[in-house]
Every structure is written in structure tokens, then in C-alpha cells.
């Protein structure tokens, strides 16, 4: 009688172990994938949540309301361009002043010569 009981218990334990090993896990190992896509690019296959780390790279676009003037901060390329234009203007003004001065000298030089002088 004892032998029969021990055999039954043994069978139940073996069956239990076999079941545990084959069907006991609640996680399906087939759904676990390692995402090797580079940072910043959209994953080709992901089972993760929709707001994953990859989507954080893109900032949402903002639109200024109509009639709003967006003032560029100082030190921008626009400021640099304005300074360059003024510098070029200064150079050209100095050149024109020099040319006008040289022309004036020539005018005075011509006026020093009286083309009506006879011997």
C-alpha cells in the first residue's frame, strides 16, 4: 500500500516538474527583441511603448502668432551682416572722399595754368 502511494506521489511530482519546465513560464520569450537601431532613428520593429526614448529627439514645431515680430538675439548672423555692410560703406565713403580730393587737386592744378599767356 505504501509503495503504491509513494509511486503516485512520485509521478505527480515528476509531472509537475515537467509541466513547470515546459509550460510554467508566463512570459513569451518570442516577443523579446533587442533593438539595435541607431539612436535617433525610428525603430524598424519595436514592441515598446509609442512614446519611446527615440521620439524625444524631435522638438515639437512652434508657430509665432500673426503680427508678432520675433526679435533676433544679439550676436546673431543678422547682426554680423549689418556690421559688415556698415564697414563696407565706410570703406567706400573713404574711397569716394579720396577720389573727390584728388579731383579737386587736379582742378586747382589746371586753374594755375593760364592758357592765355603770350610771350
Amino acid at each position: 500500500m505504501y509503495k503504491i502511494l509513494i509511486a503516485i506521489v512520485g509521478l505527480v511530482l515528476v509531472a509537475g516538474v515537467v509541466y513547470f519546465l515546459t509550460k510554467g513560464s508566463t512570459t513569451n520569450p518570442q516577443t523579446i527583441k533587442i533593438n539595435n537601431t541607431p539612436f535617433g532613428s525610428a525603430p524598424t520593429d519595436s514592441t515598446g511603448p509609442s512614446n519611446s526614448v527615440n521620439s524625444v529627439n524631435t522638438l515639437p514645431e512652434t508657430t509665432a502668432p500673426q503680427g508678432t515680430t520675433i526679435k533676433p538675439p544679439t550676436g546673431t548672423s543678422q547682426d554680423t551682416s549689418q556690421t559688415a555692410d556698415k564697414k563696407q560703406a565706410t570703406t567706400l565713403i573713404n574711397q569716394t572722399n579720396a577720389s573727390a580730393g584728388e579731383f579737386d587737386t587736379m582742378n586747382n592744378s589746371a586753374n594755375q595754368l593760364d592758357q592765355n599767356t603770350s610771350l
Partner: protein
Amino acid sequence: MSHFIKNSSLKSVSFIMITGLLSFILLPISVGAITFPGGGTGTSPSFTTTQQATLNLINSAINKLNAAENKIQNNPSLSPSTKTSILNDLNGIEAQLLASKTAVEQATTNAELQVVSQEVSSYLKTNKDVIKNDFTLAITEIGANASAKAKAYEEQIQQLLTVLAVTCPSQSSTIATLTAQITQLETDIVALNSAIKSKNAVAIKVEMKKISTLMKSMSKNVKTIQTSCNIPTI
């Protein structure tokens, strides 16, 4: 008695005075220091007058030549080659006149003096326009250089206006005035070039003066824009 002495002294004094006066007149004549007109010696009044008049004529021409040479030499707008050419021309005439001056000074007879004087007169007549021609040549060269300079100025102003239209749009009115002045400048440059081509010294000077005045007005307008838009001077 006293009357006799008084009368005798008066006669003596009169005699001495008359003798002295005659000696004063006759002595120079006797030694040839004074000759009468037509005598033909080198010290006759007509000879001296002619000689001095000829020398004055020569000296006046030499002074004019020297003044012209100084003006050419010190002119800052002439090329060295033009200066050399003109100075050689003027110096050649001056050298000829200096030789004539020596001939006039060394003439001893009216006939000699008359020949030299006629030569001088003829030479001056032939070369009376030498300064006029050389100065016209110089003015033409200056005018050509001035025309090129005015053209360069015009191009610089046009570039400047392009920059100012962006840098200083608030001064659009003055910029428009400058644009109109550029058109006027172009017209004046054409007129200057025409005067240069015809070697009209008077017209060259007139056009240069007009352009100079216009440039001064344009520079003033540029200064207004520069100040208004805080464009640095350096």
C-alpha cells in the same frame, strides 16, 4: 667909385659863368661822350633807347618763361614725361632769348642793334604762343586724368548707394538725390571728354569746375547719410 667897382665885379662874374657853361657843354662833345642824332655811335640817345626797349622786351619774355617753367615744374598733376617735354620747349626758347640779350648788350652801332632788335622781335612773334600751347597741352593731360578720376568716383558712389540702400533705408530721399547727381555727373564727364578731344583748354577748365562743385555737393550728401545712420568714419 663904388658904382664902378660894383659894375666891374658883375662883369667878371658873368664872364666866368658863361665860360664855365660853354666848357661844360663843349668838353663832352670834344671827347665824343655826346653825339647828335644821326651820328650813329653807340651812345646816341636813339641807340640807348632802342637798346633798352629791346632788352626790356627780352627780359619780359624771359620772366614769363621762368614763371611758366615754375608752374609746370611744381604742378602736382602732370606726368614727369609731360613736364620734361614742356620744360625742354620753354628752356630752348629762353636760351635763344638769352643769346639775343647778349647780342643786344654787345651791339655798338645803330645798324647792329637794329638787326638784333628785328631778330628778337621776329623770334618773339613766331613763338608768342609757346606758353599758350604748352599750357593747353598740360591742361589737356590734367583733364584726361581728371576724367578717369571722375569715372572712378562715379563707380564708387554707385557701389556705395547699393550698400546704403540696405544699411540706411531711412535716408532714401538723400539716396535718391545722389542717384540723380550720378546722372548729372555722367553728363558732365561726357562734356569733359568732348573738351579734351578738341583740346579746348577753356572748356576743359569749365567742365572740371562743374564736376568739382558737383562732387562737393555729393560728398556733403554722403556725409549726411553717414551721420544719420551712424556709419563709422574709420
